[in-house]
């Protein structure tokens, strides 16, 4: 087939880019070459709109072994142990086919982690759906949850934490972000950089089929009414094969046969082979007739673009082929020598003894387009003026009940019951707390992880929102007693060709950078998902942060459930009653305007550090950060989890009770302290200049707000737990 400009446009390239390709090649590309360019130059693989801004991210730290640029980031957790982790989006496929989209998202991120030699030890996910009233929401939610469970449960990796939100901006574009943590010996990490000439290039795993062709280009396009037609571009997952691939790869990695290894993710064989060669400044030669194919008569074009799952590309040391093949035979997986490394610095493909592509690698990698897109700053919105009269008609307990069953606050047990949370026998905090925790097998250490995002805050003011999400992640780790080490980010945004959306991206990244630098909480991996837009409607900016922290002695971890009647309850950090952008403002006052709560990084660092001291000295029994819904929601959840109540002290200060109980001021924690430890605790708080308020005492079974308001925790639990279950069953 003769390549024309129209064909190039159909492959998602624009006129300028196609012209550029012809100039660089000094000829017209053939169809296979065009396919390779389109795959490498699309947004998903090239980061052409985001690269300029991602360079600003704070990526260094003394615990960072590997920052962004590899299959996943790696951090040092002491004693030669390292944690490999990354978060990745699978938004577009999940909207088209929720089960397979979500399942292969989980499969893909686990492969990124075990490609580096790490055994996956925990999964997390952050999933976002449209309004519960939207006709597609229920089925999408059901499919996504089943897909995540179906894949992760089968592999036998526990899902330890997650986040689910509903917002109408996701009506036409749901978000599915999956994160995996793996454990590796820090001296046995595998990288994707090829080295050495004439080394065999090995294909292992599943056979190549026609599924997923153009998957990466689809993820770089906006949706229209014809999305159903895109179903064939969604890959199909096979968790059983992935489990075999995981075991086979780890078995091969135990010895020194592998020079480099890369999973075939987006843009399959194309991007994996080119990335390995590009990083090693080498060339690569492949004979496509040797690629194991599932279907008959597949063309070089299809073979290069297929996104069939559960496949890996390995560059082996010479002479190790037989030994490696034996391992893959044992696990019943395909193993084929499909080419070799060369010094040509080109990708050279052969099919039926003919050359079908011949492209200098630097044209695909370094010469890929980089755009400095126009962007617009978002002004800080005016603060809301809420009249006293607006509060007059409100009743505190009604507000509390209403907010507890708000879809974004309600309990998500219906979801996580469907995930295996305990396989591997090291899960010591399950979903539903501030962070999930798994022990580092056979040691006294444990790793905590949390996923967070705050789209409303980011939409109102991206710079503040970006900072807030990093702080939220930091607080969630602190709350269980983990020292935050590093984070991974999944940047979900609308169309970067629109100035507003691009501005949201730029400013969120700026916010993330500022907070992560200040808190010494570097970014070690991540991905960008643009074009989350359907028929001109984009999503709210949703950067998702996956934070990872270390607990040196897991016996010191703490949880959020109230423990003992008579213990004192303190709020750390100042309560000023910021209602703008709060759940209360939206749910009770139907008010969506105003600025998000501001972030004070000095306080965050100081209070967080002090909480860790209190936990380390075993002074506090319980800790929970105050987030969505404010103090009363945080405390209600602590009561529900601990099957205890609380008697509140009278509120001091100038703000009214709604501002006090539902304000979403940042940088706050609720702690429970026994009478024995209260003096020592206060002393440490004062020494570190941490503001605190004593707000009540743990009670038997009721929340006693004042003389007139006494609520049974059992009843509140029903409000909180039933919403999602009823929604899904009815």
């Amino acid at each position: 087939m003769e390549v024309t400009e129209n064909i190039a446009l159909e492959h998602g390239l624009n006129k300028e880019e196609y012209k550029n390709i012809r100039n660089l090649l000094k000829r017209v590309p053939n169809i296979t070459e065009l396919a390779i360019f389109s795959a490498m130059w699309n947004e998903h693989c090239s980061y052409k709109s985001s690269r300029k801004h991602l360079k600003k991210l704070h990526t260094k730290g003394n615990k960072v072994i590997q920052g962004p640029g590899e299959n996943a980031g790696v951090i040092d957790i002491g004693d030669d142990d390292a944690i490999v982790f990354k978060i990745e989006s699978h938004n577009h496929p999940s909207f088209i086919e929720p089960y397979q989209g979500a399942a292969t998202g989980v499969g893909g991120i686990m492969r990124d982690v075990f490609t580096m030699g790490a055994r996956p030890i925990a999964n997390l996910n952050s999933i976002h759906f449209g309004s519960p009233h939207h006709k597609k929401t229920k089925n999408l939610l059901r499919g996504v949850v089943k897909g995540i469970g179906g894949y992760g449960n089968c592999i036998g990796v526990p899902t330890i934490a997650g986040q689910t939100s509903f917002d109408e901006s996701y009506n036409g574009n749901i978000l599915v972000n999956a994160m995996t943590l793996g454990l590796v010996n820090k001296n046995k990490i595998f990288y994707s950089k090829a080295s050495g000439i004439d080394k065999p290039v090995i294909y292992v795993g599943s056979k190549t089929g026609r599924d997923g062709i153009h998957g990466a280009s689809m993820a770089s396009a906006i949706f229209d009414e014809k999305i159903e037609e895109k179903k064939p571009t969604v890959q199909v997952g096979d968790p059983f094969t992935e489990k075999l691939l995981l075991e086979a790869c780890l078995e091969l990695m135990a010895d020194n046969s592998i020079i480099s290894i890369q999973d075939m993710g987006a843009a399959g064989l194309t991007s994996s082979s080119i990335e390995m060669a590009s990083k090693g400044n080498l060339g690569i030669e492949l004979n496509l007739n040797k690629v194991p194919c599932r279907e008959e008569k597949m063309t070089p074009y299809e073979i290069m673009l297929s996104e069939s799952q559960e496949r890996m590309l390995i560059i082996l040391e010479n002479g190790k082929e037989n030994k490696a093949k034996k391992i893959f035979d044992k696990w019943n997986l395909d193993f084929a020598i499909i080419g070799k490394t060369t010094n040509s610095e080109k990708i050279e493909l052969f099919f039926d003894n003919k050359s079908v592509a011949n492209i200098p690698i630097n044209l695909l990698a370094e010469n890929a387009p980089v755009y400095d897109r126009k962007w617009k700053k978002t002004k800080l919105p005016q603060k809301l003026i809420i009249k006293k009269d607006d509060f007059k008609s409100l009743n505190l307990s009604d507000c509390l009940k209403k907010i507890l069953k708000n879809p974004n606050i309600s309990d998500k047990q219906w979801i996580w019951d469907q995930y295996d949370q305990t396989v591997m026998g090291d899960t010591i905090q399950k979903p539903g707390g501030d962070a999930g925790i798994v022990r580092v097998h056979g040691t006294n250490k444990a790793v905590a992880a949390s996923v967070d995002s705050s789209a409303s805050y980011c939409f109102a003011h991206p710079l503040t929102g970006g900072k807030q999400v990093v702080c939220e992640s930091w607080r969630n780790l602190i709350s269980v007693g983990a020292k935050p080490i590093a984070l991974t980010n999944c940047l979900n945004f609308g169309n970067p060709e629109k100035e507003k959306n691009m501005g949201e991206f730029v400013e969120c990244v700026e916010g993330i950078t500022e907070a992560s630098k200040y808190l010494d909480f570097p970014v070690v991996s991540g991905n960008v998902s643009f074009y989350n837009e359907t028929k001109d409607k984009g999503i709210k900016p949703t950067p998702t942060i996956g934070g990872v922290g270390l607990i040196k002695e897991y016996k010191k971890m703490i949880s959020m459930d109230f423990k003992k009647e008579g213990n004192l309850v303190l709020i750390l950090g100042k309560t000023e009653g910021h209602l703008d952008q709060s759940v209360f403002a939206k749910e009770i006052l139907a008010e969506k305007k105003g600025p998000p709560p501001s972030i004070n990084l000095f306080n965050e660092k100081n209070i967080g550090g002090t909480v860790l001291k209190l936990i380390d000295q075993n002074l506090i029994d319980t800790c929970h950060d105050v987030s969505l819904g404010g103090i009363l929601i945080a405390i209600s959840k602590m009561c529900i989890k601990g099957k205890k109540g609380i008697k509140f002290n009278p509120i001091k200060g100038l703000i009214n009770k709604f501002e006090f109980f539902f304000g979403e001021d940042q940088g706050r924690y609720v702690i429970e302290v026994s009478k024995t430890n209260i003096d020592k605790t206060k002393q440490i708080l004062e020494e570190n200049s941490v503001h605190y308020d004593e707000i009540g005492t743990v009670d038997k079974s009721n929340i006693i707000l004042d003389n007139n308001t006494n609520l049974s925790v059992d009843e509140l639990e029903n409000e909180n737990k039933n919403w999602l279950r009823n929604y899904m069953v009815n």
Binding site: C154, F240, D417, M424, G425, T427, K430
Partner: protein, 227 residues
């Protein structure tokens, strides 16, 4: 005491079972599905997971695997066999235990703590166990035990119901039946009671930092009963 954990492609609770058996004093070895026979053992365990992907009926391919003949011979000669979760499914597929495990009533995977009541302790698995009700953990999609009326009559007559789902106090009813199993059955024996298949995972409950500790009771007691 020597135990063997059979590892099928797709098994994923094999390591957890190995950790638990060793912790409580068994000398455990892992046996790959492709072996001809199981080395000399006092106990054979079929662990949880998704053997061969469970793409056909759960456990059905494992029931035709190379190693399984040796497991069947061992069981028929009176050797102790324990099947947990997928292991239970495999035992029903081999015919060593009656009945089948269907998809859960609400068609979802379920991962949570449950209580089970021990119905018979005149056997090597539960003899002398200190508690009558255990808190264990389930994690499965096909844990809904079913058998024909005749089979049910027979397993009841022979006291083959090993454990049943219940509440904390031991009450067995529909509210405390997580997956729709007939008669709240969570696990059964063969007639001779040397084979036990059950859905709950004792190996996930072996210290106080995990979901619970009642799994420890199970393994400690099992080892005691060998002595």
């Amino acid at each position: 005491m020597k135990s063997s954990v059979i590892v099928f492609p797709g098994s994923n609770c094999d390591r957890d079972m190995d950790v638990a058996l060793r912790k409580f004093g068994f000398k455990n070895q892992m046996v790959w599905h492709d072996e001809d026979s199981v080395p000399k053992s006092d106990l054979i365990v079929l662990p949880g997971g998704f053997s061969y992907g469970d793409y056909l009926r759960c456990g059905s391919i494992a029931a035709k695997s190379k190693i399984i003949n040796s497991v069947i011979d061992f069981a028929k000669s009176g050797g102790l066999v324990l099947g947990i979760c997928n292991g239970f499914q495999i035992l029903t597929e081999t015919g060593l235990l009656p009945g089948v495990l269907q998809q859960n009533k609400f068609l979802n995977f379920i991962c949570k703590n449950v209580y089970i009541k021990i119905n018979d302790n005149k056997n090597k698995f539960f003899k002398n166990i200190k508690k009558n009700i255990l808190e264990l953990h389930i994690a499965n999609n096909e844990g809904n035990y079913y058998c024909s009326d005749d089979e049910l009559k027979s397993i009841e007559e022979n006291n083959q119901i090993a454990v049943t789902y219940c509440n904390k106090e031991g009450l067995e009813n529909e509210d405390h039946n997580p997956n729709g199993a007939i008669k709240n059955i969570a696990g059964i024996f063969n007639k001779e009671k040397n084979i036990l298949g059950m859905m709950p995972h004792p190996e996930r409950m072996i210290d106080s930092y995990l979901s619970g500790e009642d799994g420890s009771l199970f393994f400690k007691n099992l080892l005691e009963n060998f002595k």
